[in-house]
């Protein structure tokens, strides 16, 4: 009984409330900050991975079209259905011709860019920027070059 009285005197209801609220708030804020950072990091990593896979698929199509042209193809078209966005974010595809051909996939906010390269015997001309989505690789027989465009 003596100790209970001492407790009541030392810790007022207000102090107890402030302490409880403060500690809870700290825990919740810490949890939210930690979780949002984790989610953001995972999201960026996933966007990068997905764009890398999409880039490799475009590279595979360009290489396949090149192979088919070299195998005597006069008309070659390879269509590739690709998603319009990556992890809810729209993206751009830039085909930078030359040797090797650079395929750059990029998003804005967050700024993430991925580059995939492929070597071809048939020329891929100039620099072309496409919107994310279906892509096709077409052989232009008159200019003897491979053109990458939105499908």
């Amino acid at each position: 009984m003596i100790f209970e009285r001492v407790d009541d005197r030392g810790v007022s209801t207000v102090v107890g409330f402030v302490l409880t609220l403060g500690i809870t708030s700290l825990l919740v804020i810490g949890l939210l900050v930690g979780t949002s950072g984790f989610v953001d990091g995972q999201r960026q990593g996933t966007i990068r991975d997905e764009m890398e896979v999409l880039g490799q698929q475009i590279a595979a199509d360009i290489a396949a079209a090149d192979r088919l042209v070299r195998a005597g193809g006069d008309t070659v078209t390879i269509e590739r259905p690709l998603p319009n966005d990556v992890t809810g974010l729209s993206y751009r595809i830039t085909i930078d011709g030359g040797q090797p051909v650079n395929i750059i996939l990029a998003t804005s906010n967050p700024d993430i860019s991925v580059e995939v390269t492929v070597r071809t015997v048939t020329d891929v001309p100039g620099t072309t920027t496409l919107n994310g989505g279906d892509v096709e690789v077409v052989y232009d027989e008159s200019d003897d070059e491979l053109v990458v465009r939105n499908g």
């Binding site: 809870t24 193809g73 390879i78």
Partner: protein, 460 residues
């Protein structure tokens, strides 16, 4: 009570925020799963086309080989028509396989793509040595041409096949009685090779020793016998790879092929050259004229000893070997392929067993010198020349009498009919030379004629 509600709101807000975070994590996780799904899909859109094209080329190549072997006795037209008749069967076979995988495939023959050739073969049943029709053991098999599908089958069990060891052959620079195939550059003469084929000791193995005459380098391949195919097209000896044999790919074209010590081997051989014979039952034509001229010095036989048989037999039905028969050198097919992601149309050149680049040298399809009346020095010449890669052609024909006096037609077109050459009567024999050039490559044929009003004898 108010305090309790505030605490509850805080927990509620915290819970909501956590729930949103969890949903975001779920979305990210979903994207990650989708990404890995995409990455792990079988993904090679051109594979079906490559596989179908390969099937079409192999089937069309087999069709060419079949018609060349089976319909040679009927001449070029029948070979061609039998080949085109086989194309729908090829389409039916490969299109069915494609249809199983949901793809559409069409195969069609390209009109006018046939290039005529000459099949040279000695496949006497039971095997034989490789001497010429006139039993020469050292002779020129192909003159100024290129060949495809060149395969020699050697039989180590046969007593003719020379038994030597590798060292014996090398020390004798391939001249040590072994059967030897010679490839000689007809251009600047700097690309000459020899291939000796012999039994390795008496082990039953067959050896092929390849020598570059110009550098002196030698290589030897061997494999277990007794019957072994030495395949110059694929660089194989029996079931073993023999890369040195692939020198034919880099060989300067056209070239000459000669056999030496051809009585020292038993077996068979076959090849298709880029030349033309006049028909299924005759040995005449610019191709055989060149071979006979290389062996005898004249297209009609040995001038000093009188006419001889040509080095080849003509009739595909007769059991005389070696022989030359009409054949297809190459053809072309078109394929169309449609799948959910790939549209493809392509043209394929079919020349089974061809090594190196395709023929570029003009082909003299017809060179016919007619002497319609004796003693007047007048001859008429017909010719027809084609270029395998479609270049424009220039033809020069020179007719020369025995005194060196000549008359010529220069820069003529690819085809000529009844072109009259007036030469001095009584100054025979007369030599007629045709040279066809596309500006880079040229080919010639020579005939020797008497002013006797017919085509018999030698001079003809």
């Amino acid at each position: 009570m108010a305090t309790v509600r505030e605490r509850g709101q805080l927990v509620l807000i915290a819970g909501l925020a956590l729930a949103i975070s969890l949903v975001a994590i779920a979305l990210v996780l979903n994207s990650a799963i989708y990404t890995h799904n995409l990455a792990s899909r079988y993904d090679s859109p051109g594979d079906g086309v490559v596989r179908s094209n390969h099937d079409v080329r192999e089937s069309a190549g087999a069709n060419v080989r079949y018609v060349n072997e089976e319909f040679a006795a009927d001449g070029y037209d029948d070979i061609r028509s039998n080949y085109t008749d086989g194309i729908p069967d090829i389409e039916a076979a490969v299109a069915e396989d494609a249809a199983i995988h949901g793809r559409l495939l069409r195969v069609s023959h390209v009109d006018g793509s046939n290039v005529e050739g000459v099949r040279i073969v000695d496949d006497e049943p039971g095997g034989s040595n490789f001497t010429s029709r006139t039993n020469e053991s050292n002779w020129t098999v192909v003159k100024d041409a290129q060949v495809r599908g060149f395969v020699i089958r050697a039989d180590a069990d046969a007593s003719e096949t020379r038994s030597l060891t590798e060292g014996t052959v090398l020390s004798g620079a391939l001249g040590s009685d072994a059967f030897t195939v010679g490839f000689d550059d007809t251009g600047d003469g700097s690309d000459n090779w020899r291939v000796a084929i012999y039994e390795n000791g008496s082990s039953g193995e067959i050896n092929a020793t390849v020598k570059n005459i110009d550098s002196g380098d030698t290589w030897t391949c061997n494999t277990d016998g007794p019957e072994v195919d030495v395949d110059f097209s694929r660089g194989r000896i029996g079931s073993e790879s023999c890369a040195p044999l692939l020198f034919v790919e880099e060989l300067s074209k056209p070239y000459d092929i000669s056999f030496n010590n051809s009585d020292q081997i038993s077996g068979s051989y076959r090849m298709v050259a880029d030349g033309v014979v006049d028909g299924p039952d005759v040995t005449t034509g610019a191709f055989t004229d060149r071979v006979d001229a290389a062996n005898y010095g004249a297209h009609c036989g040995n001038v000093s000893e009188g006419p001889k048989q040509t080095f080849y037999n003509a009739s595909a039905n007769a059991s005389e070997y070696p022989r030359v028969t009409p054949a297809l050198y190459e053809v072309a097919v078109d394929t169309t392929y449609d799948s959910d992601s790939v549209t493809y149309e392509g043209r394929h050149r079919i020349a089974p067993g061809e090594t190196g680049e395709s023929p570029q040298t003009p082909v003299i399809r017809l060179f016919d010198v007619t002497d319609s009346s004796a003693g007047d020095g007048n001859f008429t010449v017909d010719w027809n020349v084609t270029d395998p890669n479609g270049d424009s052609l220039t033809v020069d024909i020179i007719a020369e009498d025995d005194t060196g006096s000549s008359t010529s037609v220069n820069a003529a077109g690819a085809t000529g009919t009844d072109e009259l050459f007036e030469l001095n009567p009584g100054d025979g024999p007369y030599t007629f030379n045709i040279t066809a050039t596309d500006g880079t490559n040229s080919r010639e044929a020579v005939q020797i004629h008497d002013d006797d009003g017919d085509k018999d004898g030698c001079p003809a």
